[in-house]
């Protein structure tokens, strides 16, 4: 079946399965590109952060100033949105932010964006749902949690349950859709520019590799928006929505 194979639309495809192994009970577990890139990013970010914070002194070095600025910015953001008594969420927020940005920006290295995989973003959104449920249970108890579904009136219960389910789906799909959309558009533009160059016979040949004249420069301008701006914006929006969703469950006097 020749439908939507890679190469049809400039090589747009889902995250490829690199290798897999079979387990007795759960069945086949696929290790996709996203998983490998994710673990590589975890290692890279860990090394970077350890380098940033080793040997801290009272009179800060340049490294330490950068580290302190990052921590203070995230702390201020969490304080503004969730109240000063919920700084415990700050490390999680910073983790998701850095993971999301780097996950989107690996496309600059020629890899597939980790966040252009719905499994990744929906997993993060499900963590957010767990945090929302935990916060609700903590502040209103189990009875209050169940009762919150019947508000404002009893007939709204199905709607409330539906909106509770839709929160992680919409959060995850928003991030996925934006990054995947940028990826599709970038791939289509590369494909179109390469074809245009080939049709007009404007290309350099270096052995097997063929570079069209229109492929130089033009994609970089578009990449600034679709990769840099969009990746940064979506990471920011994702953490803002996480904080807003969890913060909404905290009563005002407990903030």
């Amino acid at each position: 079946m020749g439908f939507a194979q890679s190469g049809d639309f400039g090589g747009v495809s889902g995250p490829g399965v690199l290798f897999y192994f079979d387990l007795p009970i759960v069945g086949r577990i696929n290790i996709t590109e996203s998983v490998v890139i994710g673990f590589a990013l975890v290692v890279a970010i860990s090394i970077f952060v350890i380098w940033l914070t080793h040997g801290m002194k009272k009179i800060p070095t340049k490294r330490q100033i950068v580290a302190e600025w990052i921590v203070e910015t995230v702390n201020k953001l969490v304080k503004d949105n969730m109240g000063p008594s919920h700084l415990v969420y700050a490390p999680y927020i910073a983790t998701i932010f850095v993971f999301s940005i780097t996950g989107s920006l690996v496309s600059l290295l020629g890899l597939r964006s980790m966040t252009a995989d719905a499994s990744v973003t929906i997993a993060w959104a499900l963590i957010c749902l767990v945090m929302i449920t935990y916060t609700k249970l903590k502040y209103s108890g189990f009875g209050g949690y169940l009762k919150s579904f019947t508000e404002p009136i009893f007939v709204m219960t199905p709607m409330n349950i539906f909106s509770e389910i839709m929160t992680p789906i919409s959060m995850g799909l928003r991030h996925f859709g934006n990054v995947a959309g940028g990826m599709v558009i970038t791939a289509l533009i590369y494909w179109a520019l390469a074809n245009l160059s080939a049709k007009l016979h404007l290309y350099f040949s270096m052995g097997e590799i063929r570079i069209g004249v229109f492929q130089i420069g033009i994609p970089a301008v578009l990449s600034v928006y679709f990769d840099l701006f969009s990746g940064f914006m979506q990471a920011f929006i994702f953490i803002m929505l996480t904080m807003a969703n969890v913060g909404n469950c905290i009563p005002d006097d407990k903030k």
Partner: protein, 93 residues
């Protein structure tokens, strides 16, 4: 793909319908476009009136834009599924 036999004809039909459906799904892009434009316009008005609140207004605007964008993204996801992960074509393989 072989379009000469009957199955191939149905495959072509499904692909045609999917492509048209993907295009129709992207009509969902109109709503967020209008909504976000309206939100950004109002944010500009707010900043013009109170320039000192620019940070808060911009932050709130971006969250509002993200929420308004959701329906458009749903349409886009449907279009992506129809184009790249077609669920109907498997009945005619």
């Amino acid at each position: 793909m072989n379009f000469t036999n009957e199955n191939g004809f149905f495959q072509a039909l499904v692909l045609m319908g999917s492509a048209i459906g993907a295009g129709l799904a992207m009509i969902a892009g109109i709503g967020p476009g209008i909504g976000e434009g309206y939100a950004v316009g109002k944010a500009c008005e707010a900043i013009a009136r109170q320039p000192e609140a620019q940070g808060d207004v911009t932050r709130t605007m971006f969250i509002g834009c993200a929420v308004a964008e959701t329906t458009g993204i749903y349409g886009f996801v449907v279009a992506l599924i129809l184009l790249f992960g077609n669920p109907f074509i498997k009945y005619f393989l």
